[in-house]
Every structure is written in C-alpha cells, then in structure tokens.
C-alpha cells in the first residue's frame, strides 16, 4: 500500500493521536469502581436508545418491563462491543508492521492496547451484571480477492462500527438518569474512541482515494452496497431475540418482527448512523444515503 507515508497530513495526524494516547494513558483496571449490583428499578440504557423506543410495542410495556428490557439491551450492547473489538483487534493485528502499514503501525500499538482494555471493561460489565456475554453465530467472512479492497473494507467496517457505538456512548455518558457506573463506562470509551474515529476517517478516506483511481463504476457500486449492508447488519444486531427472551418477552421472534416493521424505528436508526453516513457521502464512498431493507 504505497502512498500513506507520502501524505503529510496523515503522518502529522497520526503523531498527534499517538501523543494524545501517551499523555492520556490510564489504568483501566483501577479506573472503575464496580458496585456489587446495579438498581433493578432504573433504566440501564437511555430510553431513546432501546430497541422499542417510539414503537407501538413500547406502549404495551409497563415501566418495570421497560427497566428489565433495558438491562438486557445494555448487556447486548456491551456484548456487541466485546465481539466487535475481538474482530477488529484480529484484523489490525494481521496488518501491524506488515508491508504497506509501516506508517500507522506505531498508532496500531496504542489502538490494539486501548481496544484490549475496552474489551476488558465491557466484558467485566456483562459478566458482573448480566452473568453472560451474548454471542452470535460465527460465520467467517470470505476476504475480497483484491487485498487493496479487502484492506479498505476492513478499516471501513471498523470505522462504521466505532461510529455507531460512539453514538450510544455519547448519549449514555450524558444521561443523568443512568447509574454513574453505566455513564462512566460509556464516557471512558467515548474519550478513547474519539481518537480511533479520527484515525479511521483519515485512513478510510486515504485508502478509498487510492482505490478510486482505477476502480470501475461496478467495483465502486459493489463496495457501496456491501458497506451499506454492513450498516444494516449492525443496526439489526440491536434487535436480539436472546435479549427479548431474557427480558421475559413472550414470542421473542414475533416481538422482534413487530419492532422491525414499526416505521418509528427507521427514524431512530437514521439518527444513530447520521455521522458515518455523512462521512461516507462526503468521502465519495456512498453515492446516496439509501439503505437496503435487510
């Protein structure tokens, strides 16, 4: 991947982000105080982030049922982080100090270290307060035959994942109806992720500009279609039937379908992906802001 070292702006931004990581380094294993339990009669996730928000189904739930559901939805959210971070660490680990990634490798050390710590505190939350980490089926994705496209897709997916998570983190960090432990986990993650997102936007933009030089219109369409499907896949992960089952909902699959069919959910989903969609459009990666149904 020639060219990254020639981009002065990219090199300067990397150095600034590395300096920030070093200056802001903290010990995550001492950063948090973990109470024995969190209150059952309060929401564990901001109400407007829950998968029932704004729907007809929501009106059928009692306040106690909403609290119970928010507990398992929050465990699902942190589990998604554990799963997502595992995958992104594997992908970055495959590339660190390999040909083409000489320039960002120093930053990768900080990235991998910080992501490992995030995975620890998210897993800690899930296991302490939910007794489990939700997991999904493991179907390995088959890499693209062109390594340049594969690199671009990998870092685009990492960026999209981080941006969606950050929307949730920022909202919950600022929500004073939530317990302080919940707010802090989200606040600390947001503070680190702002550097990772800044890096991701620079790298994805650069990789795409290199690709676009000789990519056909069809290849660009395929890339756009795949990444939009990834966004929809990520949004759908918030509607986890295992969560509904744990929250005591009858017919979890039927419940999920009713939520997905409710037009109010499209507005909520759009809000959560507003920033990454705007970035993808501005970078020329997306030609429009339409998303597939599933």
């Amino acid at each position: 991947m020639p060219g990254l070292e020639q981009d002065k702006r990219f090199v300067e931004i990397l150095q600034r982000l590395v300096d920030k990581s070093v200056d802001g380094y903290y010990n995550p294993y001492r950063e948090f105080t973990w109470p024995d339990s969190l209150p059952d009669d309060r929401m564990w996730m901001s109400e407007d982030l829950t998968s029932t928000y704004g729907t007809e189904v929501e009106a059928e739930l009692s306040p106690a049922e909403r609290c119970r559901l928010s507990r398992w939805e929050s465990i699902n959210f942190y589990s998604m982080n554990v799963e997502g971070i595992r995958e992104l660490i594997i992908e970055v680990m495959r590339r660190i100090h390999s040909r083409g990634f000489e320039v960002p490798s120093d930053f990768f050390h900080h990235f991998i270290g910080e992501e490992n710590e995030h995975m620890w505190f998210f897993a800690e939350f899930c296991l302490r307060y939910g007794g489990k980490i939700y997991s999904g089926p493991k179907l390995n994705s088959i890499g693209h035959k062109d390594p340049r496209v594969e690199n671009f897709l990998v870092f685009s997916k990492i960026l999209l994942f981080e941006e969606i998570v950050d929307y949730y983190n920022m909202r919950m960090a600022a929500d004073d109806t939530l317990h302080e432990t919940i707010r802090k986990v989200n606040r600390v993650h947001h503070e680190d992720e702002s550097r990772h997102i800044a890096f991701g936007r620079e790298l994805v933009g650069l990789l795409y500009s290199q690709l676009a030089v000789d990519a056909s219109a069809e290849q660009r369409r395929d890339i756009e279609e795949y990444l939009k499907r990834y966004i929809v896949f990520s949004l759908r992960s918030f509607y986890n039937p295992q969560v509904y089952r744990d929250a005591g909902i009858n017919d979890p699959l039927g419940f999920r379908e009713r939520l997905l069919a409710d037009p109010a959910r499209r507005d909520a989903e759009r809000k959560s992906v507003r920033k990454p969609m705007a970035f993808m459009l501005k970078a020329g990666i997306f030609a429009d802001d339409l998303l597939p149904t599933a």
Partner: protein, 81 residues
C-alpha cells in the same frame, strides 16, 4: 410471505440475488456466498420462525445451513416440507 417453508427460504435468498435464476437443493449456499456473514443471522432467524424451532444462536452447527436440502433435513424433517 406465502408458499411452503422451503419455497419461502428459497425466495428470501433469490430476492437478494436477482442474478441467480434458481437454487438446487444441494447447492452450497455458504461457499457460494448466497448467504454471507452479513445475511446469516437474518436467514437463521427466518429458519427458526418457519420451523417453529427455538434455535440457539450461540450453539449452532453452521453446516446445518449449508444447503436447502440440509436445512430441510435438520429443521423440517417431520414431513412438513
């Protein structure tokens, strides 16, 4: 969604792959990327809904979803299809 369960599964896939005219029962859906990692969960949940079987997402055998024939044997074997 109307039709028998296998017809519904096949239609679900074909709707997402207009370039594919039909799917043979023993055609490998995963190897040939008709179902990829982004589509797998939704497809699995569709199988769960149509079969009425509560599929444990954390403990499934991916090979049970490899072909329409295998899915039929595993999830619809009581002559439902």
């Amino acid at each position: 969604m109307s039709g028998s369960a296998p017809e519904q599964l096949k239609k679900w896939i074909l709707d997402r792959h207009p370039e594919v005219p039909d799917i043979e029962p023993d055609f490998d859906l995963l190897e040939n990327r008709l179902i990829d990692s982004l589509a797998f969960v939704e497809f699995m949940l569709l199988v769960s809904r149509l079969s009425g079987e509560d599929i444990d997402m954390e403990d499934i055998d991916i090979d049970d979803f490899r072909t329409l024939h295998r899915i039929e044997e595993r999830y619809f074997r009581a002559g439902v299809l």
